[in-house]
């Protein structure tokens, strides 16, 4: 351990020096002018009828990155399920969260519905204002987490049937890639927008963006809930042990 640390500090100083030297050649902080970003800022409004350039970059200009990143989430969820399929060695149950008072549970129930609604709003207006499939998807997943936190592991497991979640997750990522392939089959480049652009600022504008946002929202939300499900089962329920 001591040799390892000494080696790290010795060599790390070299690399840190190289890193520090390199950043001196970056444009000074706050003075960035890149043709790429500039161009996206200028063309998005006119060519994509979207006001949120970041979402447009994520789902259109660099949509292929997003597709693969969704698959990364998807395959990590699959990986976690694979890792946990054996179940832990000791079948001892850990205790779940403490049962909360009725007031807390009622409050949480209200919060869950609000949160679900708000996350749908965030997903659907991603092309207009800050938001999009990721942010909304993660919020939707926290709605499920609240059910667990309100004190009921059983309720959480009941509203998150593993099989249904897996299907939904597959629909989310599958929708993204199949949209791309369908576009290819129509004779256009992969992931090109083939949906009418609509009026800038409207809910269903910017062509493919709302559709892809919805797929991403499903994939992210279901992926996160599946992860929670797998972890809670593994740690609290002693795994499933049946796969």
């Amino acid at each position: 351990m001591r040799i390892r640390t000494a080696a790290y500090i010795f060599f790390g100083l070299f690399v840190a020096g190289a890193y520090a030297w390199a950043v001196l050649f970056l444009p000074a902080f706050g003075n960035y002018h890149a043709a790429y970003g500039e161009m996206l800022n200028r063309i998005t409004l006119y060519e994509r009828h979207a006001t949120n350039v970041v979402t447009t970059a994520v789902f259109d200009y660099r949509g292929f990155d997003t597709l693969n990143e969704e698959f990364m989430l998807f395959i990590a969820v699959v990986g976690v399920l694979v890792l946990f399929r054996a179940g832990p060695a000791d079948q001892r149950k850990h205790s779940g969260p403490e049962q909360q008072s009725d007031a807390v549970r009622t409050f949480v129930l209200g919060l869950v519905s609000l949160l679900a609604l708000f996350s749908l709003y965030i997903i659907l207006t991603g092309q207009l204002t800050p938001g999009g499939g990721f942010q909304g998807g993660v919020m939707l997943a926290t709605a499920f987490a609240l059910i667990y936190l309100s004190g009921s592991l059983e309720a959480f497991l009941r509203v998150t049937p593993k099989k249904g979640l897996e299907v939904a997750e597959a629909i989310g990522v599958g929708g993204l890639v199949l949209y791309g392939i369908a576009v290819v089959a129509m004779g256009y480049p992969f992931f090109q927008n083939v949906i009418p652009l609509g009026t800038t600022g409207h809910l269903l504008s910017a062509g493919s963006l709302p559709l892809l946002n919805v797929f991403t929202g499903i994939a992210v939300a279901m992926g996160m809930v599946l992860l929670m499900h797998a972890y809670l089962r593994e740690v609290l329920e002693g795994g499933e042990g049946d796969e």
Binding site: A7, A18, N68, M72, I75, A76, V82
Partner: protein, 611 residues
């Protein structure tokens, strides 16, 4: 339909198949799931071959989303499909296909998760090879890491696979972050992510930032490639991963990084580096020759069959970059051919060890000692694989070897040929030794060095029968490794592809759709010259035979190490035990080695630059 439109399907088909398989889940009968997986790889192979036929004449630039570059600014993400990347994609699909055929009888009950992991891994590898966008490259790098880590920990009920997966996951993420830092530096300097645009941006702007970015990106990728001193995770992961996953890891996932490092060098950095090319050449040659030699020696020291093959992979990926690092077309052609040849041979060898593992529920030479007596079919495949590693005549590896000879004859660096021979002989010798021990019971029987390491528990009790069909993929891969070397005009295809790969400026122009510059004068001349004399005539059967003979001699010495008292020669055993001691299996050590490697790479680079 224009084959150019099919380029994204090389990645899209396996990914969509993975989504469909998981979506259908357990409602899908096992055989149907297998069939869908195999069918999707067959579609990939078909697509790949068709596209290959096209890109041999004219490489394809594919812009996603129809966002073509404007005024020299790339808006979208592009794929660059040339013979090199497409042929390696076909190799990936072939290996995936054989892995699925093999696992037809391999897992008792697998569900569809295993298929999804394999398919996403193969899609990620293809994307990584094809992409011409720096950030997209990082995404594919991580995608392949994540799916490979999950595959590595597939047998999650025993500690070995978990340790392997942990080391793999942590160190490759560290590597990805380092590479991404390099990408961010380049983005900050040039405001671009496309290979062509970045390359054009830094072409006349050689400064320390560019060098540091090159060092970070190259080192990050080289971790995945298992180059010394970043190679430690590789042996840990390979030794424990499920056999079909090993085929993918060793066959292409490791080697692909060598290709992309070279691609990045030529397209992005070669113009900026200019006449200081020798610094890069020296560095890459240094790293890769150390890797080749170290891997070969470690290979000889192993008794765990999969770990032995893993070290031989390290040695051979060293050879791939050793050839590529000469930075001349013939040698690059050799590197590409070698990857394909090695992928087939190593895939076959891993499938053989998988069969042994399944039959006898053991993977260590000492436990298998003489138990496979009389299993002649497997012996034949295994031995053919071994002499394939030795670059024997008739094998594709032998053809690749001859290209290196051609390269050094014209460009110097004669010592590289010795490393090639050394690595080929030692690794083949090690595999032949294990064949002698396992199939004939020759040689001393040692106590198992690593009881836990055979962590796979596919067949917990006693072992199961191996269906004959499970050996079919292994035989098929060997047949491909031999048969493909009879492809008419192989050398010409390879050399043309390599010459094209080598000309970074032309690739940049092609990606940005600038009218094709004519071949550089020297290159055009060279290409003509290369076409004039078929390399096949230069190929010497004698050298291949000598390699095989020497490999047999190494195996003989190793099997009789006790009788010859080799194990008592201190000058041999001391360094050997020292070498084994630094492979601690602890990821903290690996991280320290990683930073040391980056320090050496960037330090030497900056120093040489200042000279």
């Amino acid at each position: 339909m224009n084959p150019a439109a099919l380029v994204p399907l090389i990645v899209g088909v396996p990914l969509s198949a993975a989504a469909i398989l998981v979506g259908a889940g357990k409602s899908l009968p096992r055989r149907l799931a297998d069939s869908i997986a195999i069918l999707s790889t067959v579609i990939s192979i078909g697509c790949g071959c068709w596209i290959f036929n096209h890109v041999i004449e004219q490489p394809i630039v594919y812009w996603f989303g129809g966002w073509y570059p404007r005024k020299g600014v790339a808006i979208g993400i592009s794929f660059y499909a040339d013979p090199v990347s497409v042929s390696l994609c076909v190799l990936t699909a072939v290996l995936t296909c054989t892995a699925f055929v093999y696992s037809w009888h391999y897992f008792e009950s697998a569900g569809t998760h295993y298929h999804a992991l394999m398919l996403v891994l193969s899609g990620a590898i293809c994307g990584f090879l094809l992409t011409a966008d720096l950030f997209n490259m990082f995404v594919f790098f991580e995608l392949s890491t994540v799916s490979a880590v999950a595959l590595c920990g597939y047998h999650s009920e025993s500690p070995g696979p978990l340790q392997g997966a942990w080391n793999f996951g942590v160190i490759c993420t560290v590597a990805a972050v380092t590479a991404l830092t390099g990408v961010a530096l380049l983005y900050g300097r040039t405001g671009a992510l496309n290979f062509a645009q970045v390359g054009a941006g830094i072409a006349h702007d050689p400064n320390p930032l560019v060098l540091v970015a090159l060092a970070f990106i190259a080192c990050g990728l080289m971790v995945k490639g298992g180059f010394a001193p970043f190679h430690f995770w590789l042996a840990d992961a390979h030794a424990v991963a499920a056999t079909p996953a090993c085929v993918m890891f060793s066959g292409i996932m490791v080697e692909m990084t060598a290709v992309v490092v070279l691609r990045l060098y030529f397209v992005l950095f070669s113009t900026a580096v200019g006449d200081r090319e020798w610094t890069v050449r020296a560095l890459l040659l240094g790293f890769s020759s150390v890797t080749a030699v170290l891997g070969a020696i470690m290979c000889l020291l192993q008794t765990h069959l999969k770990r032995l093959l893993a070290y031989s992979t390290i040695s051979h990926v060293g050879l791939v970059l050793l050839a590529g690092a000469m930075l001349v077309p013939e040698a690059i052609g050799c590197a590409m051919l070698y990857i394909i040849a090695h992928g087939f041979v190593k895939g076959s060898l891993f499938l053989c060890t998988g069969a042994l593992k399944q039959r006898f529920n053991a993977i260590d030479e000492s436990e298998l000692h003489g138990r496979a007596r009389g299993w002649y079919l497997l012996l034949a495949i295994y031995t053919l694989g071994a002499i394939g590693l030795a670059a024997a005549p008739l094998f594709l590896t032998g053809r690749a070897d001859s290209l290196v000879e051609a390269a050094v004859r014209d460009h110097g660096l004669h010592w590289t040929v010795w490393i090639f021979s050394f690595s080929a002989i030692i690794t083949a010798g090690a595999v032949l030794r294990s064949a002698g021990a396992v199939f004939f019971g020759w040689g001393p029987r040692e106590a198992s060095s690593s009881k836990e390491s055979g962590g796979e528990r596919e067949a917990a009790a006693g072992g199961r029968k191996v269906e004959r069909i499970m050996l079919l993929p292994a035989a098929l891969l060997i047949a491909l490794a031999i048969g493909l070397s009879f492809t008419p005009g192989l050398d010409h295809i390879v050399l043309r592809a390599a010459t094209d790969f080598h000309d970074g400026t032309r690739i940049r122009d092609r990606i940005m759709n600038i009218t094709h510059a004519p071949l550089k004068q020297a290159d055009a001349h060279r290409e003509k010259e290369l076409m004039a004399e078929p390399v096949a005539e230069k190929y010497s059967v004698e050298k291949g035979l000598i390699n095989v003979a020497l490999a047999l001699a190494v195996a003989f010495l190793a099997l009789n190490r006790d009788r010859l008292r080799l194990t008592r020669v201190r000058i041999l055993t001391r360094p050997a035990s020292l070498l084994r001691a630094i492979h601690t299996g602890t990821v903290g050590d690996y991280a320290a080695w990683f930073i040391a490697g980056v320090a050496v790479f960037s330090g030497v680079m900056l120093l040489l630059w200042r000279m």
